[in-house]
Structures are given as C-alpha cells and as structure tokens.
Symmetry: C3
Subunit: 344 residues, 3 copies
C-alpha cells in the first residue's frame, strides 16, 4: 500500500495540520481498530472519547476539533468527504490486470477504447463501444450495440443488455443486470380462459455519468421509451427499477428498494432500504422516504414520508393487530359515544 | 428493422383499417415520442388528446375509436395484445448468433436439438437435453440432467441446477437461478448449544410451458417433492419462490415478491410487487394480492386482499405510530366510556 | 443412487429398528409420493394418518411412534436431523467432475489445495488460496487474495471479491455475491447543488465455518472493519447484509431479509423472511423476528417480535387505512369524551 505523510495528504485534501506533518501513514482503519501506521477519522465531537483512546497515527477531524486531540490531525470542513478521498489514496481498490484477457470473447466489430482492461471470460457483443480506460470484470456480458463512456468499472459478472447506454465513470457491482425486459404483459382472451401475452420491450436503459449500481440490482429497459437514471444517482444492492422509470440526479436509494413501472423520482431524494414506490406515481425533488415505507401516491412537497408498523413484542402485536382489523368499528363506537353525550 | 405497411400488419393482427392502408412503418414508440415512420397505440379514449397530438405514422386503437383520429388506424378488439404482436414483428428482439460458440463447454453426453444457439462461455452439464431452437445465452449454466423443451430463451448468465425440467417457450432473464437448494434446516442438539443441520434438497423445479422468469429471480428446488410453476406463469425480477411451492397457471407475480415454503397459489392470480406469502398457506384461484401486502393466512375466496400501512408525513406518522402501540389500551378506554354511559 | 438396508442406515444414524432390518431403500420421498423402494419420515403424531397411508418402504419416526405404524421403521430422538443425514446418504448431491477444467482461469500464484475441483470458466485471482477438497462451480469468480478453508462448495456463478476470508465447509449458492462494496457515500458540497462521493470500502467479509449463503444473496465488505458472519449461520436466498454487520453463530435468516449497515444480530436468532433490520442497532441472542417485520430499535430481551399489518379484504382495508391516518384525532376524541364524563 502507498505510504503518505500528513503533509502529502494535506496537499491532496487541503485543511490544516496540527501536530507532526511528517507523520507517515499507509492505511486506514476505524478509531477502534486503527494502529499507529493508520489514519482514522471522526465526524463530530460525539466521537471525541473514542478518538482520544484510538491508537491511530493520525486523524481527519472537523475544523476546530483538532485542539481536543493529542494525535496529529488534519482539520477539514467535511471530514467524511476528505476521509473518502484519503481512503482512495491510501487503499486504492485493486484494478484489473492491464489489457484484454485471452479468454474474453469480443465481437469483431466492437470498438474498444484506449487502455481498456477486460477480464477473463467477459463477452462483448456486436457493435458495442467501450470508452477509454473502462474496466470490464471477469465474466461480465456487454450486449450488442451497448455504449459505455470512459472510465466505467464493471465488476465481475455484471450484465448490460443490448442497446443500453452508460455514461462516464459508471460503476456496476457483481450481478447487476441493466436492461433486462420490463414486465410488460397484455391479457389475451383469444384462448380459453385467457393468458398473458408478452409485450416485447423496445426501449433501453440510460445510465448517465457517475451512476453506481449495487450488487444484484436490476434496472429494466423501457417498454417503448427509455428507463433513465440521471447523473450521480447511487443505487445500493438488490434494488429493482422497473421499466420507464426516471430517477433524478444525485438521488440515493438504499438496498432492497423497489420502484414499479413508469414512476419518476426527483433529484436529491433519499429512498430508504426496502422502500417500495408504486407504479405511475411521481415524487418531487428533495423527498426522503423512510426505510420500509410504501409510497402509494404522488408526492408533491419535499419532506420526510413514512408508513411503517411499529415493532412490538409478538404478544402485544397480536392484541393490537386484532383491533387494527376492527378500527372502523371502533371509530363508529366513538362516534356513537359522542352523539350520546351531545344529547346529554 | 423490418418495414411493414398497415395492410401487412392487418394481415398478421386482424382488425379494420381506417385511412391509408399503404402507410409504411418500421418501428414502434410511445404516443409522445413516435415519429412519422413509427407505430403507436392507445388503450382507451382516455388517451385521445395525446393520440391526436402524436406524430406517429399509424395507430392501433380500440374498435370505434378510429373515427376520432386523423392518423391511419388499425382498429382492433384488444389493442394491448395487438400492439404486443406488432412490436414483435417490427422490433424483434436480437437473437443469439446461430450455432454453438467455440467457447461453450458442452458435456459429451448432452443432447442438443436442431437449430439450438449457445452463446460464449455457456456450460451444459452431463446428460442435459436441450430442445430444438433453444437459445442459451452467454455464460449460462445448465446443470447435469436438466431437460429443456423447444424454443426456450435463456438470456445471459441464467442458471438451471441439476435435474430441473423446463417446458417449451420458457424464458429466463439474466441472473435467474432455477433449482438452488431450498432452505431446509433441521435443528441438531448433538453438539453443545445446538446447530443447524442442512437437509439436502432432493426435489426438482418444474417450469411448465410459456413460463417467464425475471432477472435475478430465484426458484428453489423441492425438499422431496418438486416445486412446480404451471403453464403461462409470469414472474418479474427479484422474486423468491421457496421450496415445494406450486404456482397455478397464468398467474402473474410482480417484482420483489416472496413466496415462502410449501405454499400454493391458484390459477389466474395477480400478486403485487413486494407482496409476501407466508409458508404453508394456500391461495385459491383468481385472487389479487395488493403490492406490499403480507398474506398470513389461507385465502379461500377470490377477491382483492391488502395489508398496507398508509403513507404519511413523518411527523404525522410519529404520532400515529405511538398510538398504534397502544391501540389495545384505547379500545379499553372506549369500552369504559361505553360502560359509564350505560350506567348513566 | 446408493441402496442401503435399514440396518445399514441404523449403523449411520443410530436409533431402533422395528420391522424387517433388511428392507432395502435407494431414495427418499414425501409420505404422499414415496414408493416401496423409498424412505420417508414423520415429525410427530400429527402425520400418523398420512404415514399409515404411505407406500414408503421404510420410515424414520420419532421414538415411540414406531408401534403405531406397519411399515419398517427406524425410531430416533430427532427424526428431522436423522432424515437429513439419510438424504445425504441416499441421494447425495452431484459433485463437480474431479480436477480442474481446462477452461478455468487460475492465477499463477494462486494456491490450490489437494483434491480441489474447479468447474468450467471459473476464475481464481492472484494470491487466492483454495483449501483442500473445495468445489468451485462453473463460472464462479474468486477475487485476488481470497482465502477459502477446506471442503467449501461454491455453486455455479458465485462471486467472492478481493481479500475476503471463508472458513471450512462454507456453501455459496448461485449468484451469491460476497464482498461487494458497502453503500458508503459522503455528501460533497464542493460542486453546485452537491453530489455523493463514494467512500471506498476498505474492509473485508469474513464467513466463519459452516456458513451457508443462498442464491443471489449479497454480503457487503466492511467500510473499514470487516463484516463478519459467525460459525453455522444459515442465510436463505435474496438476502442483503450491509457493511460492518455481524451475525452471531447459528442464527438463521429467511429469504428476502435485509440487514442495514453496522447492525449486529446475536447468536441463535431466527429472522423471518423479508424482515428488515435498520442500521446501527443491536439484537441480542435468541431473538425471533417474525416474517415481514421491520426492526427499528435495539432489542435487548430474547423473545418474539413482530410489526405486521394484518391482511384484510381490500374494501375493509380501505376504511381502516383511512382511520389509521387519523388515529391521532381519534385518540383526542376519546380523551375529550373522558374529560366530559369526568365533569359529569
């Protein structure tokens, strides 16, 4: 791993050094587990006790908190972002081996940019276009006609189906599936009893610049128009984005969430884990949806929205759940009491 | 893309032409984005304003609605189904390249039908039997002893584990896993504290004709008997079907739903996204389960069933959630009031 | 398939034979479908009627129940665990073909233990270490520096990302992704409007001995410290375990559950399907979380916990859901009535 002095880190990250600027670090760790050769960080004064007890060789701290600590510190305005940059410098993710592995299967008419790395067994389809410096992980599949911008990183075993478009610096984690068919079905009564007829999905998926897609997350191609994920959107693992959706720029969606067909989510939203967005609704910019929440109607006002059953001991829940089934009757009983007292 | 006149489309789809039967179209698009060389459609008079404003070269419309429009129209009884067929004609999905790719690994004793296409890196196990005209996508894995009917389409990176049986025209999308082990565990007290002992899963998965399985959806093999998905069932992405389940013919299940072990769902049901069906229960034919609903008991009557918390602003939810925890107390308070008034 | 007499089975499993110890069986089946050459089992007297009607050649039964049956029986203390062992003997899962397939891509400096089997197209990264007798399925990917203990079974198309550590006898099902990046994001205001900055994930995933991971389940690597799944933990399909979590020994988690970042679950817990554990909370040992339940706070007491909306007919639900939105108002109305009656 690379080793840097605190002064060298400061040259990359800015901020103010307190203590020995020649302190040498070669890795990162949590406050609890850091060793003297490692860098750690704290977000606020809430972590001061832990920070003072930490064996870390140096700390990234919020401005003004450096005076509270004995370790060499780099004080910055946004310690989380600065620490993220420090990790990238000190413990860079392993890249693919340079060049194109002999076992990769690349269509003759595919266009492969400069310095592209392609891992073992990866498959690149006819007419695909891979921008400069892309990393295509082992056993990934790039369908016919797919276009990737520059500096994309597809981890092992990602799939991009035919015709989809990825911008620059897009990251796909293992098992991500971009551009599978949307769930388009027409009910066909031409046979006895009826059956579902598949509606071929003629649209594409567009992932704009800096989109990140988690492991085993699926984004379906549009039925006719495209499914669009705008610049800077971050999607965690196991998410389902159905056909014709549009997710606005810099929105983040946590794991296991689902967005049903033809819904739009605005910019700068935060969607909690396992949240469910019904089809054909719109969520405006700057909305936070709590984890586990089911959004059943269009949201036109920024704010925090929730629909979660509170956790109970099972015995308590049993009593409450029975009442929940009869809430309508309870409301009528209260109304009857109110009427009675009015007469009094 | 193929180009067809409206008259040629009519020859395939039936219906009545209004306007120029020689109108030539070579693609499909939504009302909003269609260009003069493209076909679009509308489902009902609800979309008339959009349809009138559309630049589409021709429209598929419900019977009797053609008179309301200026574009050349094909009037049909079921526009959604007819449009589905038109898309298949005008923008057919790209097929695999003919033949068996040199990098595919096929067991010597596997039986490969006529005109089967097998993509790069696909693996076909010992004793597998692949019916005529199947398409096996890149990096798919067909386990030992698996049987596929005719005209199946396995997209890239599907997995069918040993011994499973697929009918004709089955579609598997990328990442689908058919026949992984069910979650069978026996509690074993023979070591201190106890531990889970794996119960080997000896059943199979049977997918009957015309089943479609979405991306990253899992269907587990039976513990002893088989897990069975009947004719025409359509499963969206990210679904989990546990061991020993049976899903009745022509039932459709939306994304992220889960069906726990040994449950059965009848024919012609519609299960909403992220719905959860508990284990060992039965759902009769023609039941609709709303999205996000948790089915905790057997359903014997057709109809629509729901169990969803309504969406609220977080502040309102906080107040309500507190009361939910004390609903039992509230019911007792109402009862006390009723008693008091009775005494009055 | 191997054939065994009841006496031979007894030699492996213990227990007491009633009836012909020479009864020969060569497979397993359910009570309903078993044929005379097959073994079946029952867990309790609840299944006696079915057992009496079964054509099974022999039965594994709870102690003392053998007298109730006419078939040859092996009476044991724990029929479920004994049957699990019998299935493993009578219908062993197919193993990979011996040796390393010519199409596998193995880094020169990887260390491959004795009797390891590696399937077609599998990829083993630089510095990886594969313990004796491991089975690495077709098209699996083992990243650089990964260590596997002995007797692991990776089914087709599993992924283990760089640096992760697996103990002995770990099982990964198809599509499982171990060690993808956690969802670490820092909000960066250095550009207009702000954006998410990726926090590189420097930790690993540690899977201890006897862990089983279901199909398409994801376990993210830690941000700084490791994500740890302790000995004997069993994870079903489609589960998401976020970064920095720790799951205690012999805990079982059913399909579609999600555990958000930095949460810990104790030992001997049972987490139901689609349950959701919020981030940064702790669940103590021996807790059962019901299926579909959302755990929003730390649980310090063993027991069963639930938060589920009861299932209703949709029409009933509509009325109730409206009241749920106004529960706060209802409570105030009851309070007003109480006040009024106090004044009376």
């Amino acid at each position: 791993m690379p080793a840097l002095t605190l002064a060298e880190l400061q040259a990359h990250l800015g901020g103010t050094i307190r203590g020995d600027a020649n302190t040498r670090i070669n890795g990162v760790a949590s406050l609890l587990h850091a060793e003297p050769h490692q860098l750690s960080f704290l977000l606020s004064s809430k972590y001061l006790v832990q920070a003072r007890a930490s064996a870390a060789g140096a700390l990234i701290v919020p401005d003004a908190l450096d005076a509270e600590l004995l370790q060499p510190c780099l004080a910055v305005a946004n310690p989380h972002a600065s620490f993220a940059r420090a990790v990238a410098l000190l413990q860079p993710e392993p890249l693919l081996e340079p060049g194109i592995h002999a076992s990769a299967v690349i269509a003759e008419d595919a266009v492969i940019g400069a310095e592209v790395c392609i891992g073992p067994g990866a498959v690149i389809g006819s007419g695909a276009n891979i921008g400069a410096r892309c990393q295509i992980g082992a056993l990934s599949v790039i369908g016919p006609g797919v276009k990737l911008g520059e500096d994309c990183f597809l981890h092992a075993r990602a799939v991009v189906q035919h015709g989809c478009i990825l911008g620059n610096r897009v990251i796909l984690h293992p098992g991500a599936v971009i551009g599978a068919d949307g769930f388009g079905l027409a009910w066909d009564k031409s046979i006895e009893g009826g059956r579902w007829l598949k509606v071929p999905q003629a649209g594409r998926v567009i992932l704009e610049d800096d989109v990140e897609v988690g492991a085993n997350t699926c984004i379906d191609r549009g039925a006719l128009d495209d499914t669009v994920i705008e610049t800077g959107v971050k999607l965690d693992n196991q998410i389902q984005i159905a056909h014709n959706c549009r997710i606005g720029r810099h929105t983040a969606i946590a794991a296991c969430a689902g967005v049903a067909g033809s819904s739009t989510i605005g910019a700068y939203c935060q969607i909690g884990g396992a949240a469910l967005i019904q089809g054909h609704i719109d969520i405006c910019d700057r909305v936070t949806v709590s984890a586990g929440t089911f959004v059943t109607k269009t949201i036109r006002e920024p704010g925090v929205y929730t629909s979660v059953q509170p956790l109970m001991k099972h015995e308590d829940w049993k009593h409450n759940a029975a009442h929940l089934r009869h809430l309508d009757a309870l409301v009528r009983r209260v109304k009857a009491l109110e009427e009675k007292l009015k007469d009094n």
